[in-house]
Amino acid sequence: MSAVTAGAIDQAARRPKYGSMSRDRRWALRWSYFFLVLFAIFFLMPPIYMFITSLKTSAEISAETNPWWVYHPTLSNYIELLTAPSYLMFFRNSAIVSVFVVTITMLISVPAAFALSRMKFWGSATLATGVFLTYLIPETLLFLPLFKMFAQFNELTGIELINRWWVLLFLYPTLTVPFCTWIMIGYFASIPKELDEAALMDGANYRQILTRVFIPVALPGLIAATIFAFTVSWAQFLYPLAFTTSIDQLVLPVGIITTLNKGDVFNWGQIMTGALLGAAPPLIIYAFLMDYYIAGLTAGATKG
């Protein structure tokens, strides 16, 4: 079906002079919109249903009425959650962790990307490839050895690392730094060499070249990397699930899942509200910085 419509459009686009073609093209366009609407419904249905459920009371959720419609809209779920100390704590934990992780990631990956793209040293080419390879190592492979390593570290030094929220500040950069370094290498490499040569001629040192030339010029890449680091650390689920257990140490995704479904009765109104509010920060950032977001997404695979 799609083939037929797309074909018609292409034909029309290639040979726009024929009168019947323009009619074909109009129909093809209508079909395109029709299918786009279908796909948009498929893609947007879960978040919309989250929103619908979040406006319902528990009584209405378990009633035999149309689940896709809100008969008695209420904000009580939002009010309850935003006044519940535990939810606010999850939110705060998530925010603190994400902000720190973004900062750490940028402090590590930007200088490293600068060094790897401009200042060759022994093994720098291998390291650049290695950075990319570490990006391909999933966290699901590392969490068990890391768990054991932290337990051993505790035996050696007496410092407890498990069930501490700040240990996530060490773990999340393993997911964000390789990718951010990689796309920053790509952005830095695209800056013409003449620019930093001119700066060197003017007597700038490397720190000045980085902060005065490279960072301003590669700012779009920097923003894309920042957004990526934030979304990854906000969404990360496995590490907090494995490494934190007590309620005051949990971040948002784990907090919602472990505390809101208490007992046998799932309080779906609150779970959906919590999930929707938890999805809000990345969505808001995406809404405002969509072009940077997409640039980062495509740079990762096209430059790498």
């Binding site: 083939a3 797309a6 074909g7 292409d10 093809a28 366009l29 395109s32 786009l36 796909f39 948009a40 893609f43 249905m45 879960p46 978040p47 249903y49 689940p67 896709w68 590590i108 490293a112 060094a115 060759k120 040293f121 022994w122 390291l127 570490t134 391909l136 190592i137 999933p138 699901t140 492979l141 068990l144 050895p145 890391l146 054991k148 390593m149 393993t174 390789p178 040569e197 060197l200 001629m201 490397y206 969404a235 689920f237 496995l238 995704p253 784990v254 919602i256 899942i257 799932f266 779906w268 959906m272 999930a275 929707l276 938890g278 999805a279 990345p282 969505l283 997409i294 495509t298 790498g304």
Partner: protein, 311 residues
């Protein structure tokens, strides 16, 4: 060129006396190494070391006191669940990537077809599933699949179709985890393929049209060859991520019913963290390495080829 310039700079500033150490600190490669050292430390300590350490862990017994060689692996090979997990991981990853690629490809074409000024809006709307944290959106799916209040079953009931056990029946649960994964991942493919479509030069289509190529021929001989690289790299990337997926299966089914939807990551978590047998869990997760390594080799080859083309 740069070196010569730096040499010149150093010669002029090097009039003042400096110790050998400070001179070494001023050298470009030394500075570069220091700038990259946090990265090296992070990767070495928290990625490379644990990766190698898991090899060692896999050879220990449950209490991690005794070396047991390969008996963790032979134990796994004898368990039926293990083979089920292998099978399910492969089915899950391959089917999901296939459908993500197909849906992404189709949607990318539709977006590409409509007038340029509307594309941004549609693209923005269709990428939403990728932006929402997977843990949150999987919760929404879990609620949509709820055994007693499923909103899907309500719609199906309107058409007289009986309640579907979305997460209760083994086959439906397998379908559901794949569906959710496709829902989350297809927008990523759409974005990548859309970028690739836009990079195909219009002249190629014009030339093909002049030669009388029909739609299929243009797709087969122009679009697909031009997009081949992107299609391959995106699919390989996604294969790695999907194969190592944890969030969706963990939240939607937690491996159930009766372990039928466990993939490597969730089963390793189940054995290692919840079951307390870290070595066995590490052995399970090590089985992800071959497929990851294969995909990584292909991706790297592509990068090197493109790097050579560029230079």
């Amino acid at each position: 060129m740069v070196d010569a310039v730096i040499g010149g700079v150093r010669a002029t500033t090097g009039v003042r006396k400096r110790s050998g150490f400070r001179k070494a600190m001023q050298r470009k490669s030394t500075i570069a190494f220091f700038m990259a050292s946090p990265l090296i430390l992070l990767i070495g300590l928290l990625v490379l070391y644990p990766a190698l350490y898991s090899l060692h862990l896999a050879t220990l017994n449950k209490s991690m006191e005794r070396f047991v060689g390969l008996s963790n692996f032979t134990f796994l090979f004898k368990r039926e669940t293990f083979w089920m997990v292998v099978q399910q991981s492969c089915i899950f990853a391959i089917t999901a990537v296939l459908f993500k690629a197909i849906i992404g490809f189709i949607v990318a074409h539709f977006v590409h077809n409509i007038p340029a000024k509307g594309q941004r809006k549609w693209r923005g709307m269709l990428l939403v599933p990728w932006v929402i944290p997977p843990a949150m959106s999987t919760l929404a799916w879990l609620w949509l699949f709820d055994p007693s209040y499923s909103a899907f079953n309500w719609i199906l009931a309107v058409f007289g179709i009986g309640p579907v056990p979305w997460t209760g029946d083994a086959y439906w649960a397998r379908f559901s985890v794949i569906l959710v994964n496709v829902w989350i991942g297809a927008p990523f493919f759409m974005i990548m393929y859309l970028a690739a479509l836009k990079s195909v030069p219009e002249q190629l289509y014009e030339a093909a049209a002049i030669d009388g190529a029909n739609w299929w021929q243009r797709m087969w001989f122009v679009t697909l060859p031009m997009m081949r690289n992107i299609i391959a790299v995106t699919a390989l990337f996604s294969l790695i991520v999907t194969f190592a997926n944890f969030d969706i299966v963990r939240i939607l089914t937690a491996g159930g019913p009766i372990d039928k939807t466990h993939v490597f990551a969730t089963w390793a978590f189940w054995l290692g963290i919840q079951g307390g047998d870290i070595p066995l869990g590490a052995s399970v997760s090590l089985f992800m390495v071959p497929i990851l390594a294969t995909a990584a080799v292909f991706i790297l080859r592509d990068i090197h080829r493109r790097g050579n083309e560029a230079s």
